[in-house]
């Protein structure tokens, strides 16, 4: 027994040690920030990207473990998912994404539910997804908070980049499907506006110079205050044109930093979205065109990009089979429907990194960023290409090509 324990300890120790210094050579590196590098080299040290160059100008130092690959991209980012909250089994015990007791619950924290060991997280990781913006679901006026995590295994504390990222909200027919009230669009807006007015009042009282006049801490009002102060963004799922305009109107009234999520009909409202300064997390390209997404267009990413609106592509939420989607394939499909290769790659790397405010750490292959890197045996977007090796923070977390 003791021997086993020592062996195990030494294996763990070596794997950490091995992860310390790594060199990756590739026929082509798509950095997502500059032009592609042919015959590229990436050096990784202490979990960070140490140097980026070519086989001509960047020799591989002694002591570095070498990985060779055909194609390399940055670790991929899923701009909006529910996995880790929502699990592979699809039974009540592994579905923590939507609390149905009330339609407005800003106090629900994602960190209290996220499961880093969830199978769907492993599946995403093996497909090259290294960062998730995950958390509470679609279907409540305010379903709760979102968080940003790396997909590596570990405790929530070890994998979290941001414990509180945005407040997840929904405007649309799914809310009325889950809750008895609101039953109509107008009631949805009335309810959410009432709550934000209450929060304005709370915030005003909280700012009273006389501390004895301040109200006691209210978990819901506290988060809504952060929203009103612009400390966190309002992530509003809205798909139909009417619901998108309702979201824009709400953001304007309360001066919210709006991120439109889903946004199936955003391609019809390009001028309105540009003047509102809303950011876009676009639905999966292969999402089903049903319900309030019936008018979705697979050319949306291309149309929005052409209009100068940066697009981040999400896996979103799936209620059944498949239980989630993979943004690598969704970006590939956006490319098949009109987006350039480079722009398609940005929808799952640097664009979501900027939108989430984590581009100092992830989203491109640049010196000093986290060593989240994906190795492929061919064109990353081709149907028959395999994701071979995935690095997170300089450690191999998946290795599938022999």
């Amino acid at each position: 027994m003791q021997l086993k324990a020592i062996l195990l300890a030494s294996i763990l120790w070596t794997s950490t040690a091995v992860s310390a210094q790594i060199a990756i050579k590739a026929n082509i590196i798509y950095t997502a920030s500059g032009t592609p590098i042919r015959n590229g080299v990436i050096l990784i040290s202490k979990g960070k990207i140490e140097k980026v160059g070519t086989t001509n100008n960047l020799p591989i130092p002694a002591g570095y473990t070498l990985y060779q690959s055909n194609v390399v991209t940055p670790g991929l980012i899923d701009a909006r998912t529910l996995i880790g909250m929502s699990g592979v089994l699809n039974i009540p015990v592994d579905q923590d994404q939507l609390e149905k007791s009330s339609p407005i619950q800003p106090d629900l924290r994602a960190i209290d539910a996220y499961n880093p060991d969830e199978t769907l997280v492993k599946v995403a990781r093996e497909c090259g997804i290294t960062t998730l913006h995950t958390g509470h679901g679609i279907g409540a006026l305010v379903s709760g908070q979102t968080m940003i995590v790396k997909t590596k295994p570990g405790t929530v504390e070890n994998v979290t980049i941001q414990p509180l990222s945005m407040l997840a909200m929904t405007i649309g027919p799914s809310v009325s499907g889950y809750y008895g009230s609101p039953g109509t669009k107008a009631k949805q807006m009335a309810m959410i506006r009432t709550e934000l007015l209450k929060a304005q009042l709370y915030l005003k009282k909280m700012n009273d110079k006389d501390s004895s006049k301040r109200p006691s801490l209210d978990l819901n009002m506290d988060i809504l205050s952060k929203l009103l102060k612009g400390e966190i963004k309002a992530l509003i799922t809205a798909n139909s044109s009417v619901d998108i305009m309702n979201a824009i109107r709400l953001a304007k009234e309360f001066n919210l930093r709006l991120v439109l999520d889903g946004a199936a009909e955003a391609y019809r409202l390009i001028d309105e979205i540009k003047s509102s300064k809303a950011e876009i997390i676009l639905h999966a390209t292969m999402a089903r065109n049903e319900g309030d997404m019936v008018n979705m267009n697979r050319e949306s990413a291309a149309l929005l990009t052409a209009a100068g609106i940066p697009v981040s592509i999400e896996s979103g939420y799936e209620a059944y089979v498949p239980k989630t989607r993979i943004v690598l394939y969704e970006a590939a499909m956006a490319m098949a429907y009109g987006l350039s290769f480079d722009e398609a790659l940005k929808t799952i790397t640097i664009h979501p990194a900027k939108l989430l405010g984590i581009d100092n750490r992830v989203g491109s292959i640049d010196v000093g960023k986290d060593a989240d890197v994906v190795l492929y045996d061919g064109d990353p977007f081709e149907y028959t290409t395999k994701v071979c090796t995935v690095f997170i923070d300089g450690a191999v977390v998946s290795n599938k090509c022999p």
Binding site: G87, V88, L89, N90, I91, T119, L120, V123, C127, E265, R268, M286, R288, N289, E290, G291, V294, N295, M296, N297, R298, E299, E318, A319, Y320, V321, P322, K323, T324, R325, I326, Y329, A332, M333, M335, A336, Y337, F381, E382, Y383, T384, T385, K386
Partner: protein, 438 residues
């Protein structure tokens, strides 16, 4: 027995009358494409000649062209047979409802909306023949229909009568799909099998009574809508299409088919990779669904995209299906490409969306490959069938161009857009129980 054969015959006659309506007299030649006929090796710079809805000839550049032919130069393109989807829910087939677990009398025929714009998805994806299945969620959801993507106002205009004289199969399921906490439904796997066996015993008895009566109509048993289609199943005319995922459920399906000697195609097979040799030994063809993420329900947790490759190696006949709306008909070729990624041969993966599926519906004498005398169902692609960069450019059904990417109205069904698809499509067959199905 005679009476329901007559009913079938009447529909057959109606079908054959409507079929001839859109044939074209002048031969049309497609030359210059790489042709995957699925009957022999791919033909580089091949020639395909069609006339009156049928294929006249398929060959290399030296193929003799009819004098009066209209010649279309498709150099640089790829031609495949029209794709065969062995399992779809397009058109809203509904099927057995919540009143019973066994609904052999429920016909998809009576539910499908032939004008559904869901069929445009099939055309945009290159699918020309579909097995539309009722269900899901029952031990026996009902009778399926084999349809062609012809322009149609009635379902009869779409039907294809197969080599056994029927135009559909029988949808069955086991495992958690058909287990429900509801009156008339099984609560366990053993009860599921027992209920199926009981029904099949009744059908055997009914079949024997009919045989015994012979030509003596006074001894003929009363008509029984539940047992009549099962007699067709027992006679080997109507194929059972069996939804089954987990390894133990797959083996149970095989056990039932062997007990009652019914012909069966197994569908989905998330865990088919675990029992590939057993499936091969039983000689049961398999139609797989390829989904890039496992789970969403308990029985699909171990789904693998390598199942196609594993079954191919074991010698099992493999087809793919969309199960639309589970996967999208517009992406059917992508399903096959995902199997190639995980080790299936390109040759078998192409067969799996064409001739292999046709065989599983007893339709391979009419569709599934490009051969003289078969229906002129084919698709023109911009390139490699398994590439993300390739588009289906044209879909032809019985010599008629049914979908063309150059036509903006057609292309809209590929991309979607405002007002393109109606909201009343109902291929999303799981809505009743998606929250509680395990």
């Amino acid at each position: 027995m005679k009476r329901f054969i007559q009913t079938s015959a009447a529909i057959v006659l109606f079908v054959s009358l409507t079929c001839s309506a859109f044939s074209q007299d002048q031969p049309v030649v497609f030359k210059g494409a790489l042709i995957y006929s699925m009957n022999g090796k791919p033909i580089d710079r091949g020639v395909l000649v069609v006339r009156k809805g049928k294929i006249i000839s398929v060959g290399d550049a030296n193929t003799k062209l009819p004098a009066d032919a209209l010649v279309q130069d498709v150099t640089g393109k790829v031609i495949l047979p029209g794709l065969i989807d062995t399992h779809s829910h397009l058109g809203g087939p509904e099927g057995g409802d919540g009143s019973a677990a066994l609904n052999p009398d429920a016909r998809a025929l009576d539910a499908i909306n032939p004008s559904s714009d869901g069929f445009k998805k099939a055309l945009a994806g290159g699918i020309t023949t579909i097995n539309i299945m009722p269900g899901s969620g029952h031990l026996m959801s009902g009778q399926t229909v084999y349809v062609k993507m012809r322009p149609a106002k009635t379902i009869e205009e779409m039907l294809i009568v197969n080599e056994k004289g029927v135009y559909g199969g029988m949808k069955m399921a086991n495992g958690t799909n058909s287990i429900r906490n509801s009156s008339g439904f099984p609560g366990t796997r053993a009860k599921s099998a027992a209920m199926v066996r009981e029904l099949f015993l009744q059908a055997v008895e009914y079949k024997n009574k009919i045989a015994k009566a012979g030509k003596d109509s006074s001894k003929m048993p009363e008509r029984n809508l539940r047992l009549e289609p099962l007699v067709e199943v027992l006679e080997g005319k109507r194929i059972v299409h069996f939804h089954t995922h987990k390894a133990n459920d797959i083996i149970t399906a095989i056990r039932l088919s062997q007990e009652f000697k019914f012909r069966m195609v197994m569908h989905h097979l998330s865990e088919g990779w675990k029992v590939a040799d057993e499936i091969a030994k039983a000689g049961v063809p398999c139609s797989l669904i390829n989904i890039e993420v496992p789970g969403g329900k308990m029985e699909a947790v171990n789904l693998s995209l390598a199942t196609g490759a594993t079954l191919e190696k074991a010698g099992v006949a493999v087809a793919f299906h969309t199960d639309d709306g589970i996967t999208d008909s517009r992406l059917f070729l992508r399903s096959a490409a995902l199997a190639v990624r995980e080790g299936m041969s390109k040759e078998k993966a192409l067969e799996a969306v064409t001739i292999a599926g046709a065989r599983m519906l007893d339709l391979s004498s009419k569709v599934g490959s490009l051969e003289k005398g078969k229906d002129a169902d084919f698709i023109i692609l911009s390139g490699d069938p398994f590439s993300v960069y390739t588009k289906v450019e044209q879909t032809w059904v019985e010599g008629e161009k049914r979908w063309d990417i150059q036509n903006p109205a057609d292309k809209a069904f590929l991309t979607g857009g405002y007002g393109v698809y109606s909201t009343d499509r109902s291929e999303f067959h799981h809505h009743d129980n998606e929250d509680n199905e395990q």
